[in-house]
């Protein structure tokens, strides 16, 4: 059985990628994730200068299936972070640098620094509420024309493949995907967290330090699958130029991985499952994926990639 794949021309030993924001602020931790079986790792989002996160609680375990977070993009800035990329690279697996900025200039500056540090792929975090502060209330990824501008600028400044992580909090994810592809994106990863809020009835207040945040965990998997299907269906119909799609949202088993591959995803990202299973999340999903493939008689991921999409086109 062969579960290897590739993403934008970069070979991956398996389709499991550590999602951005999880354990990704230190190269030594990314190495541990690599050792636990991941096919690639994404860093925590890095910006142009050091930035503190929000006050706690920043991560809220609402239930086994609902995790809320509002971290506030803590990061030491791209200059200091370069060393972490170098450490992560010693693991031997591809390293994806997640990048954010407040302007096209900042996005491209950080992306260049990450490429220079050795990142194999850059992923643009356009769902960050701090991007382009003049657009109050909206984040960059909710405005297709702004997103396109950022992608275009980063593509001009870098040579490594550029992914864009899409927010589900939009009217039409296909339109944002189109803007990214027109801007030159080499691939798309979706979805980022779903806007969310939790209230504590005893203290009668929002529980996150930032009041509002984003939801992840198994509770968003079916939402994510629908968004992924919308984008891949448009590609299959020829309404959207086809680029690799990385599925993300609530994956915590081999069957979940298979679901996204069946929809036509090239790879998947795993995040919140680390809360429940620790670093064993990767070996668990891999073993279960192989079990699924064995049962179905599949030798490679290509044998079943996109099979479920047929029902939707």
């Amino acid at each position: 059985m062969d579960i290897s794949t590739s993403l934008c021309g970069i070979p991956l030993r398996n389709p499991l990628i550590l999602a951005s924001g999880i354990l990704g602020n230190k190269g030594a931790l990314l190495r541990r994730v690599a050792e636990s079986g991941a096919g690639a790792v994404a860093t925590k989002s890095v910006g142009p200068e050091p930035r503190e996160g929000y006050n706690n609680p920043t991560v809220l375990y609402v239930s086994e299936d609902i995790v809320l977070n509002a971290m506030g993009l803590p990061n030491p800035g791209c200059e200091q972070f370069a060393g972490e990329i170098e450490t992560a690279k010693t693991s031997g697996i591809p390293v994806i640098a997640s990048v954010f900025g407040r302007s096209q200039e900042e996005f491209s500056l950080v992306a260049m620094a990450m490429e220079e540090a050795g990142a194999d792929i850059v992923e643009l975090n356009v769902s960050c509420p701090h991007s382009l502060p003049r657009l109050k209330g909206l984040h960059l990824g909710q405005i297709p024309v702004e997103t396109k501008g950022v992608v275009k600028r980063v593509k001009q400044a870098t040579t490594v493949p550029v992914l864009v992580k899409l927010s589900p909090n939009v009217t039409s994810i296909v339109e944002v995907a189109r803007a990214c592809i027109e801007g030159g994106a080499d691939g798309l990863s979706l979805i980022n967290t779903v806007q969310a809020l939790e209230i504590d009835p005893l203290t009668e207040r929002p529980m996150l330090g930032n009041m509002v945040g984003g939801q992840s965990g198994p509770s968003i998997r079916c939402i994510a699958q629908r968004k992924v299907a919308d984008v891949l269906t448009a590609m299959r119909r020829g309404e959207l130029e086809a680029v690799p799609v990385v599925g993300a949202g609530g994956i915590e088993s081999g069957e979940d991985v298979a679901r996204y591959i069946l929809l036509g995803c090239q790879c998947v990202q795993i995040g919140s499952a680390v809360l429940k299973y620790g670093l064993d999340a990767f070996s668990k999903c891999l073993k279960e994926l192989e079990g699924y493939m064995k049962e179905k008689g599949y030798e490679t991921l290509e044998d079943f990639r996109g099979k479920s999409l047929e029902w939707l086109v």
């Binding site: 030594a28 925590k44 207040r205």
Partner: protein
């Protein structure tokens, strides 16, 4: 998934059951909770101090910080808190019955091996070791209690009752031996044929104790602190050379710390950048 494991990760809003003043700047807050009271010495709870005055939205006020548990029995447990920052200053305004968010118990605590134990505490680090001593009453436990001044000492009376010997150090020498807790470790170890050393306090002091224990060949464990966002092993912010302080720790064996080049040298600030330990 084990429902117990899930419940440990959720914030539970608990009314303060009791407050005991330990000294001018240290208070113990008691809570009633079956699950959190299962805490083992060295484990921690995340304590959310939910600033509750609406509607003024001040994002800088509410905060949640990791704290050691100082006592636990049946359904009751206490955290012992030193007033030192914004969150603890806010907590000190709270009264019996006020709500606090507790998550836990979390992390890996101390694991005792041997008969003759030495606990080395600096400052508020005495809280975690005080709990350990209560659990190891049948052992021969010696205690070094270090504080900056006599006024900052706490648990002195309780420790004198519980331990085989108690050695107090203060920076100015106005109470006990003048100097740091780490200064007297070698002497106590040799006098009492200590099998294992447990240490909690400022990291520079712990690093000195680590060095002394290494020289003497005595196994030792240290309770570390790093800035924590999630406390649940997912954000990675509390990383110490690839160890997660919230999940792999906060208590580490000396052998583990041998591999952690930043121990005693560098910590991580709120941005994730490394800064020297003063």
């Amino acid at each position: 998934m084990d429902s117990d494991v899930c419940a440990r990760r959720k914030i539970k809003i608990l009314p303060i059951h009791d407050i005991v003043t330990e000294n001018e700047i240290v208070r113990s807050f008691y809570f009633k909770d079956n699950l959190a009271a299962q805490v083992e010495p060295g484990q921690f709870v995340m304590v959310w101090v939910p600033h509750t005055v609406p509607p003024r939205v001040d994002f800088s006020l509410p905060d949640q910080v990791p704290m050691s548990v100082s006592r636990a029995s049946d359904r009751l447990f206490s955290i012992t808190v030193k007033r030192c920052g914004e969150t603890t200053t806010e907590l000190f305004k709270y009264e019996k019955g006020d709500y606090v968010g507790i998550t836990g118990p979390l992390g890996k605590g101390f694991s005792v091996n041997g008969r003759h134990l030495l606990c080395v505490a600096g400052g508020i680090g005495a809280a975690a070791l005080f709990f350990l001593v209560q659990r190891e009453r049948e052992k021969d436990v010696h205690f070094i209690l270090g504080a900056r001044t006599k006024k900052e000492l706490f648990f002195e009376r309780e420790l004198r009752n519980l331990c085989t010997s108690l050695c107090i150090t203060t920076d100015d020498g106005l109470c006990g031996t003048r100097g740091f807790a780490s200064d007297v470790v070698a002497d106590v170890c040799e006098t009492h044929e200590i099998d294992q050393v447990m240490c909690c306090g400022p990291e520079i002091m712990m690093y000195k104790v680590f060095s002394v224990c290494k020289r003497l060949g005595i196994p030792s464990q240290f309770s570390l602190e790093r800035y924590m966002y999630c406390g649940l092993g997912i954000c990675g912010h509390c990383s110490l050379n690839g160890f997660l302080v919230c999940k792999d720790g906060p208590v580490f064996d000396a052998q583990e710390l041998e591999k952690a080049a930043d121990f005693g040298m560098k910590k991580v600030d709120k941005t994730g950048g490394k800064v020297p330990i003063q």
